[in-house]
C-alpha cells in the first residue's frame, strides 16, 4: 500500500478512537437499542429469539447511521477536507480509505458486540454465528452507501436527520439480505450461501458506487 494511504488510514482511525472521537458511542447506542426493545415488545424469550437477528440488524443499521455524519463533517469544520481536495490524490481512493477507517472504528465494534447482545436475545449458537458473519459482510455496505449521504449533507449545519432519510431507502437491500441469510442458516428455507453471497456482492457494489458518487458530491460541495 502506498505510504500516503496508510498515513491517512492511521490518522482517521486514531482520531476516531481517541478522546473527541465517537467510535465506541455507536456500540453503546447498539446496546441501548437492544436493551430497550424487550421493554417495548415484552420479555418473551421465544419471540425474542425468533426476531432477534432482525433486531440486531436494525440496531446495527441505526448505530451506523448515527455515526455517519462524523465521516466528513469534522474534516470540513477544521479545513482538512479542503486540503485533501487540493492535494491532488484521487478523491475516490481517499473516500474509500476514509470509509475503511470509519468502518474499522465504528462498524467492526458492532460486529464484535453482536454475539454478546445475541445472548440477551436468547439466540442459539448457529443464529449468533450467522448474525455475526452477515454483519461482518454487510456493515461495510452500510458505511459505503452512507458515505454518499454524508458527503451530500456535509455542507448543511444539521444534516444528520436528512442523512438518515436519504440513506435508509438505499440500505433496504442490505438489510433484507442480511436478515434472510441469517434466517436461511436457522430455518433453512434456502441454502445459507445464496443470500450471503448476494450480501457480499452488495458490499462490493457499494465499494464501487459509494466512493465514486461520494467523491463527486464532495467536489460539487466544495467549489
Amino acid at each position: 500500500m502506498r505510504n500516503w494511504a496508510l498515513v491517512l488510514f492511521q490518522r482517521d482511525l486514531q482520531l476516531s478512537v481517541r478522546i473527541g472521537g465517537s467510535a465506541l458511542v455507536g456500540v453503546l447506542f447498539f446496546l441501548a437499542v437492544v436493551t430497550v426493545i424487550p421493554f417495548g415488545i415484552g420479555p418473551d424469550l421465544n419471540l425474542l429469539s425468533r426476531i432477534g437477528p432482525g433486531l440486531l440488524w436494525i440496531g446495527a443499521l441505526l448505530a451506523t447511521l448515527l455515526g455517519l455524519d462524523r465521516l466528513f463533517q469534522a474534516d470540513r469544520d477544521d479545513g482538512t477536507l479542503d486540503l485533501i481536495l487540493m492535494a491532488g490524490r484521487p478523491l475516490e481512493v481517499v473516500v474509500l480509505i476514509k470509509c475503511l477507517a470509519h468502518w474499522v472504528g465504528t462498524g467492526l465494534p458492532l460486529v464484535v458486540a453482536a454475539p454478546f447482545l445475541g445472548i440477551l436475545l436468547n439466540l442459539d449458537p448457529v443464529a449468533t454465528a450467522a448474525v455475526t458473519a452477515t454483519l461482518f459482510a454487510g456493515t461495510p455496505a452500510l458505511t459505503l452507501i452512507g458515505a454518499i449521504g454524508a458527503s451530500l449533507t456535509v455542507t448543511l449545519r444539521r444534516g444528520g436527520l436528512l442523512l438518515a432519510i436519504l440513506v435508509i431507502p438505499l440500505a433496504v437491500p442490505t438489510l433484507i439480505f442480511g436478515v434472510s441469510a441469517t434466517d436461511a442458516a436457522v430455518r433453512d428455507p434456502v441454502p445459507f450461501m445464496t443470500p450471503f453471497l448476494i450480501l457480499c456482492a452488495l458490499s462490493l457494489i457499494a465499494a464501487v458506487v459509494g466512493p465514486i458518487a461520494s467523491a463527486a458530491a464532495l467536489r460539487f460541495a466544495s467549489d
Binding site: 451530500l152 449533507t153 432519510i165 431507502p169 434466517d183 457494489i205 458530491a217 460541495a221
Partner: protein, 254 residues
C-alpha cells in the same frame, strides 16, 4: 441543435407559451374520453364488481411514478454530463409531481386493497417497493429545500438521483426476494391469460391522459422555476445594490 437552442431560458419560455395550451387541451380531451370509457363503457369485473374501475386511476399512476423517475434520471445526466442549464430545473420540477403520482398510486392501491384483500395495507412486494420509491422522492425534495444555492442543490440532487436510479432495480429485486421468502403467493392476480380489450382500451386512453397531464404539469412547474430563479437573482442584485462594498457588510450596525 434544437436541444441546445432551448438552453436559453427565454427561448424555452416562448416555446412553453406556444405548446402549453395545445397540450393542456389534449390532456382535457383525453381525460374526458378516458373517464367516460372507464366509468360507462368498460364492463364490471365478474368477481370484483365496480371496484375494478379503481384500476383506471391506479395503474396509470403507478406507471407515471416510474416514468417520472426516468425523466429525473435523464435530467440528472443532463446536469452532470452536459451541464445543460435547464436540466436541474427539469429535475427539480419533476420531483413533487412524481411524489404526487406515487402517493396517488399508494392511496388508490390501498383503497382497492380493502375490498379485495380485506386490508388497507399488505406488505406486498410491489406496494413495498413503491413505498420505498415514495420515501426517495421525499428525500430528494428535502435535499432541494435544505440548500439555498440552486446550482449546488441541483448537483447534489443529481448525484443522489443517479445513485437511486442504480439502486432501484436492486431494491425491487431484493423486495421480491424478501416477499417470496416471507409470504405465500399474493391474493390478487389477473384471471385469464390476457386483459380483455374492453378493459384494455380505457386503460390505454387513461395512461395517455396521465402522461399528457404529467407533461403539462412538468412544463408549468419548469416555467415557474425559471421565473422563481429570475426573481431570486433580481432580489440578490437589489440587495447588493442597497449595500455596496464589503465595508458595509462587515459593519451591519451602521
Amino acid at each position: 441543435m434544437a436541444f441546445w437552442d432551448y438552453a436559453n431560458p427565454t427561448r424555452f419560455l416562448r416555446l412553453v407559451q406556444v405548446v402549453l395550451p395545445w397540450l393542456a387541451g389534449l390532456c382535457v380531451g383525453l381525460f374526458a374520453v378516458g373517464l367516460y370509457m372507464s366509468f360507462f363503457v368498460a364492463p364490471e369485473d365478474y368477481q370484483q364488481g365496480d371496484t375494478v374501475r379503481i384500476m383506471y386511476i391506479h395503474v396509470p399512476a403507478a406507471w407515471l411514478c416510474m416514468m417520472c423517475y426516468s425523466v429525473m434520471t435523464i435530467s440528472s445526466l443532463g446536469t452532470l454530463v452536459w451541464k445543460h442549464p435547464l436540466a436541474d430545473v427539469s429535475a427539480k420540477a419533476a420531483a413533487p409531481i412524481g411524489a404526487a403520482f406515487t402517493f396517488m398510486a399508494l392511496v388508490t392501491g390501498s383503497l382497492w386493497g380493502k375490498p379485495m384483500w380485506g386490508t388497507y395495507w399488505e406488505w406486498d412486494a410491489r406496494l413495498t417497493s413503491v413505498l420505498v420509491l415514495f420515501i426517495m422522492y421525499l428525500g430528494l425534495m428535502t435535499l432541494w429545500r435544505t440548500m439555498d444555492d440552486p446550482i449546488k442543490a441541483g448537483k447534489a440532487a443529481a448525484v443522489l438521483t443517479l445513485v437511486g436510479a442504480l439502486n432501484l432495480p436492486i431494491i425491487k429485486f431484493s423486495v421480491d426476494w424478501w416477499n417470496t421468502l416471507h409470504q405465500p403467493a399474493s391474493v390478487f392476480r389477473f384471471d385469464g391469460p390476457t386483459i380483455h380489450p374492453d378493459i384494455l382500451w380505457p386503460l390505454l386512453v387513461m395512461a395517455f391522459a396521465f402522461t399528457t397531464l404529467f407533461f403539462v404539469l412538468h412544463l408549468m412547474a419548469m416555467r415557474n422555476e425559471v421565473l422563481r430563479r429570475r426573481v431570486r437573482s433580481l432580489r440578490l442584485r437589489a440587495a447588493s445594490a442597497a449595500q455596496p462594498g464589503p465595508a458595509a457588510a462587515a459593519q451591519p450596525a451602521e
